[in-house]
């Protein structure tokens, strides 16, 4: 199916564990983004990527790692999960630089216990 898909939809993990959230898009969009959504903070940019093998930090990158070896995939890894990383994570893609045409996935709800 065409679109942008995130997996898993829900994840519970323990403090200190490594966890990877997956994001896959079928449009060959150049730009991909990871946001976290928290009550009272709205959407905050974690990392973004302008193309395969090009990534850059957003507003809240600490504790997260990204990679983009293929255009269609943009995984987000929490190297050692903390309770403060409990959040809903959204991946988005865009077919051009800047703000146009952001399409968001349905999100991953991550709980760190």
């Amino acid at each position: 199916d065409a679109g942008i898909t995130q997996s898993p939809r829900y994840k519970i993990t323990e403090t200190g564990r490594q966890v990877t959230l997956m994001c896959h898009q079928t449009w060959s969009h150049s730009y991909m983004f990871w946001y976290r959504q928290d009550l009272g903070h709205g959407l905050r940019l974690i990392y973004y990527s302008a193309a395969a093998d090009i990534t850059d930090k957003g507003e809240v990158p600490d504790g997260y790692v990204v990679s983009r070896s293929k255009t269609e995939n943009f995984p987000l890894t929490l190297e050692s999960a903390t309770r403060s990383q409990t959040s809903v994570y959204f991946c988005a893609s865009s077919d051009r630089g800047g703000p146009y045409g952001y399409t968001f996935g349905s999100g991953t709800r991550l709980t760190v216990v």
């Binding site: 730009y31 983004f33 946001y35 009272g40 903070h41 709205g42 959407l43 905050r44 940019l45 973004y48 302008a50 850059d56 957003g58 959204f90 988005a92 051009r96 630089g97 800047g98 703000p99 045409g101 952001y102 399409t103 968001f104 996935g105 349905s106 999100g107």
Partner: protein, 115 residues
Amino acid sequence: QQQVKQSPQSLIVQKGGISIINCAYENTAFDYFPWYQQFPGKGPALLIAIRPDVSEKKEGRFTISFNKSAKQFSLHIMDSQPGDSATYFCAASMIPGGSQGNLIFGKGTKLSVKP
């Protein structure tokens, strides 16, 4: 300077009424102002957007009003319906793209339309 301030945090409107959500920004270099709509369990979706060369843009029941001198813009939902109940985010960015083109989001407004 990179912030976008959105108000109110929550809004309750009767069916058929007008919903108004306001946003303010500081960075005068911003030149693209979209609104996103998010239903529970879904990702945000682009609703309507405006550039600062116009003062108003209307799409169906949704209108963006833009006041460049006041650095403010607002979303008006006319004849609000229960199906409009969602969280609305304003955002801003600069064109052209690159990192300066990344969207800066407001904190969101949860709209409830009562039947």
